[in-house]
Symmetry: D2
Subunit: 430 residues, 4 copies
């Protein structure tokens, strides 16, 4: 490997409200952060539509990516000179940390659900393709981009390195929990990261935790548990996401129906048919999406217009809990009533399952699951966390599914079709 990295003449520092300072000493990292693909993450919010629930949550993926980098840097400081750790992997880890989310687009969750877009695939393309990121990485040797990509995709042969960015307790999770807690302002999400870093140890296969750190880890798992229920699965956030998804579906439908747009969805067409190129993809950030939504408030199509107005002005759908039984028995009736009331149920009557959401608080051993946390006992043996901690055992693997129906209550209060609307309200609101 040619050494394409130099130390910066003077350490660069970012002020960060979560980690206080983010320290960069390697030119490679500094230049990666300066690439336009990474700078683009400034225009993609970390938590999608959550800012409509928690107004503080306006932070971006750029913000988070720097945080993951900083935690990774601190983990490596702890690992230095310990068995199983090879300092040649340092830049690989740091670069993977900076880039792990680089393929995310605007409102990723919705775009992926509606269009089948895959941010991991885009990450790979950005790392391996004709990009500024790739150009910077290649300074470390031609194979380096592939290595970084393998680490992010969890296929790299060095399992220890992979675990540092993708496991149940990795730099990624430790940053986002703290960062999301900080920006939303909730009181959860705090744990003693300083202590966790001090008890983290490299092994051949993964980073593990010294047994004496078990309480700190329990606290971290509890933070995750609380963050998921308080922030990530928040029903208002999901309501905004439902509307966003429906806008995207409506636009695709209109496009496919040859509707005459006032503002043609040129940034979206590649998503509709899957033909989108990397260059095009990189141009679609949240400003772009918001611009279209802003403009589409004036489209002729009443559904597109209405949904965009709802999203821009935060006039969200109401939600109610429901159970399986309900769906079986009343769903068809309800859809029919919506139709009779002139409210298109394809856009205005939506079921949403929390279990669809891409978060897990801790499920050891499930298929395709991330590496579970192992405790390192004084005798050198490893034990999976939930076997040692009653607390973690108690909550792991329990899938608390939460099912909600979302619908526009305001439309049920407008004149016309009062009888059907009354019936709908009886069913949904009891």
């Amino acid at each position: 490997m040619s050494n394409g990295n130099r130390q910066l003449k003077e350490e660069k520092v970012f002020k960060d409200p979560v980690h206080r300072y983010i320290h960069v000493r390697d030119e490679l990292i500094w230049d990666l952060i300066g690439t336009k693909e990474v700078q683009r993450l400034r225009r993609i919010r970390q938590l999608g539509t959550t800012f409509l629930t928690f107004h503080g949550a306006e932070h971006t993926r750029f913000n988070h990516s720097l945080g993951v980098y900083e935690i990774m840097r601190r983990i490596i400081d702890v690992f230095a000179d310990r068995p199983h750790w090879n300092d040649r992997d340092r830049l690989l880890c740091l670069a993977a940390a900076v880039l792990h989310d680089v393929g995310h687009g605007p409102f990723s969750h919705s775009f992926e659900k509606v269009f089948g877009s895959d941010h991991e695939e885009w990450t790979r393309q950005i790392v391996l393709g004709d990009t500024e990121v790739n150009e910077v990485l290649r300074r470390m040797g031609d194979h380096f981009p592939q290595e970084v990509s393998d680490v992010i995709e969890k296929t790299h042969s060095n399992k220890l390195v992979v675990s540092m960015i993708s496991s149940q307790i990795d730099a990624d999770r430790m940053d986002y929990l703290q960062r999301d807690a900080f920006y939303t302002g909730v009181s959860y999400g705090h744990f003693d990261m300083e202590r966790i870093l001090r008890v983290m140890r490299p092994t051949e296969d993964q980073a593990v935790i010294k047994y004496t750190g078990m309480h700190a880890i329990e606290d971290y798992i509890m933070s995750r548990y609380q963050m998921y229920w308080q922030v990530y699965f928040h029903p208002v956030t999901r309501s905004a996401e439902v509307i966003l998804s429906k806008v995207l579906r409506r636009v695709q439908h209109l496009y496919e129906s040859n509707y005459q747009f006032k503002l043609y969805p040129s940034h979206f067409t590649g998503f509709f048919d899957g033909s989108i190129s990397l260059e095009q993809y990189l141009k679609v950030d949240e400003s772009v999406v918001m611009f279209y939504f802003q403009m589409w408030q004036d489209e002729e199509d009443p559904i597109l217009q209405d949904l965009c107005q709802r999203f821009m002005n935060r006039r969200l759908f109401k939600y109610v809990e429901f159970d399986q039984h309900f769906i079986m028995n009343q769903w068809n009736d309800l859809q029919e009533l919506f139709r009779q009331a002139d409210i298109d149920p394809d856009y205005y009557l939506v079921i949403d399952f929390s279990s669809d959401l891409p978060y897990d608080f801790y499920r050891p051993g499930e298929e395709e699951e991330r590496v579970p946390i192992h405790l390192l006992r004084p005798d050198g043996k490893l034990r999976e966390l939930s076997r040692e901690s009653e607390l973690v055992e108690a909550i792991s693997g329990k899938k608390r599914t939460d099912q909600k129906v979302y619908f526009p209550q305001d439309l049920l209060e407008t004149p016309g079709h009062e009888q059907e609307k009354q019936r709908i309200k009886e069913i949904l609101l009891g």
Copy 2:
């Protein structure tokens, strides 16, 4: 006055990372916050281009407006039942707090400087014009919008109420200092607001501070002092602002030169000739600006293209300090050298004065200045703060002007015109 306000059935609460919780009990306030003009503030950053210096500073004016409201609410709680305070003014104060920044557009400082746009005028129009905000306010009586407008414009006859939102220590400043410190992550900007609120007292003319609170006020003034130099006047932020302003000027120039845009600046033309309507103005948020900048990276015009790429990818101008003497003697030479090197000095050689910036840390008694802070002595007399506090006296009125030249250092390293570029570097970098 018809009482157009009702108490909400249940108090609504926003989670706020700065004030922990923001409490809303009045339907009027709840509905104001829900108007599309206020929701639009979610798409306008509180600190303009500062996010390019402090990546945490991605917070919006919506965020800040809620904070000012909350502080106002707490001040009113302290004032309740005290002489000079009339509880009928409560909603007037709260509404003014929510709306005090509602006229701001995207990157206000730059837009105002380049186009002479005036956010105060827009605020007036939003409050008094045909808007959702006006509709909500009018529930309190036809004169209510005018009253709110007068408070925000500092022309209302109730000087006490005006001082609560516009003085040297008002709800606005107390929120933004804490909020901007929180999001940037700097260690300054903290002061003991709880104590300040406890020692604030209404008088006929203004809110004043009990003498025993002088130390807390000193601390607040010091926070301002530090925030201005550390955050608000940060040269990197100003560098981004310089570029932004130059983009706007270039677009106007191209427009006036009948340049054939790939993406026509339809959202901007009203700014160019001052013909912009309220409806048009309200559509221009930061997403819109960012969308254009995104697209203009591919314009033919090399200056527009370059400046937009710089702004989007954070390739900012370098800056150096200089003194008056320098300008007198070398400025013309320097401009000429730029021209000879084929770098248009109108866009690439910029002087910027901190004293242009719309902040003051504390200047009692200047013309058109905000009401200075008065201390209420035990004997009932008022004393202006800087006469009692050595600390404040020491820093008040001192205008530390900071003058910098901004220019693209990278362009001086490119091939061609090496001699002129060398000479430029000698002048600017010594």
Copy 3:
């Protein structure tokens, strides 16, 4: 009831690092705090010997008592004007909060274990006896001291009031968790008290929690869980407590054996035979105990001297875990070996069970247990917390007993009886 309370002319404020400010408006409360019995709590640490483990934990019961008062005051603010709350009980609650720990003596846990002293009995005597506290309370009527005493003893007929100071989520626990976390510096012990207070509601029988507050309560229960294992049951603290208890036992033994003390234990003799009067009891604070221990470092008796030196200079016993099986089989042998090695096992070989410790994290429904937490559902029904929360259910009732043997390892390294000492080490250290 004669109204013996007046409002203070001006509110008094204590600066408190945990609650920021403690507000006193009632002369009755102000005067209670000023009594010598309450001031005496300044000389009794909140956490006994914990300062030898966590050097920050030097805070006193005075400190905590003010904190409980402040939380109680805030709960009452939330309850004001709600059904089931009667504002006449306000001062009763506040006085009980100030006084709930007033009977504690120095190192209560050890004194109670060794001498059978009972701080609750002393609290009753202080409240009802010839004290400054009683004199202040009687201003509210002759029955008022008895009412306060009944509230503290949980026998008062007003169950709501009792629950505010003694239940699974009362002002006492909410203060000590936060305060002990603050002073020890551990990262646990934090929870969103502001939110808990907002969702607390009075009912006829007890204070309950609105259902929407369940997550905040879970977080509070987790904090307790972590604090018990990280702080309250810390083995080093218990080691210091073991030594302290052994000093007390040795002094009593020497006293009963007519040992000629250089410094006669005049402050202790009343404890030995249970004859101690209230006046005498109130003179024994931690300064007094420390004074004797200081002096007894120079006593002739080698055990008393040694144990006092250990306590003063923090030369604590070592500890090892052991199991029941071990005790049955080896305990007698071990005691015999200690004797043979000339180390008195009555003082230097100690078993300690965490289950002896006066803490519970959450055990609903046990005998003599505090009122469990009830959630108030939207339909008005109450549900016990552990039936609604999987998290709480998972940890409630699980008694994690922790048994340790404490002994002075250093004495096993001294010359003489090497063979026995070697054998002891084999048994204890494996």
Copy 4:
């Protein structure tokens, strides 16, 4: 130098609420902390009588000494490998940090004022005399205790090392400001230590601050300024100190008058005539003082009894401001009136000057002053802080003297000598 230090097998960690963790890797340091002379600091409060003003301020000098050690450790981490820093001085710095306050006795300020005791002299004796501290230090070579003593006394030839523990911005001050702010709960005292450490640089003569750190230093100076006026000079603390001093004076007077004590002041007699030995000195901690005060509440002498009761039960003297003029004219009259009213003015009428207090916020260049702060400019030149910072210049050297008269207002309300008492009140209270 023989290397008497070994690395601990495993790093030891103290949990600290101010610095989060205190890390010890050197056996020398670990053993120093374990000496009885250092452990004794657990029984001496950091802020003397301040706990009677700020109830949170119960922290000890032990607590602070660990903090200074930790900051020193971090400074050394920053200095490592830089010019002018020699890593052989590491343990010298760390040992001096642990020991810098080891000579302090109980309520040092009062004892020093009344008895002329000198904690610096005691520190020297503890470091150089027959103590556990000395024994541990001598492991590093026979000269090592003398070196440590020289550093603490500021006479060591290595000025850089001296400046790290004794200058205007040293480990000592940085710890106490933060720690005292933390425990009192005031909002001042915070500054960005992490940043200050990052910009600190060793030079031949002293530790200096990179120019870019000027704002952080300004903030630190402001913190000191606020802490002095808000905490260190607090009049209630001084009132308690006045009483404490008067108790000491009274005891000495009684002793010299052959008064028959119920509890003879055996721990104090060495102070009276200056004959106290090191061994005796080390036995007098705050528990001992409090024990005597406790007992002396029952002495026959009415002044001793009264003053002790005041101190124990916090019945402090009232204070009023006065000016020089007042003293000249009325002091004699006032003393006479006190005598006529049967209140001994020697004990009950006290003037106190803040300028007597051992604190300076920043006075560069005064005689015997600590090394002022120097900024290191980019050109390598040093500039004294107050010449660069308007803020610091504004407050430096300004001696805000604050003079108060302390007296027992309650005694002026008792029956007898009403006329004289009335006259006294007129003079003092106006």
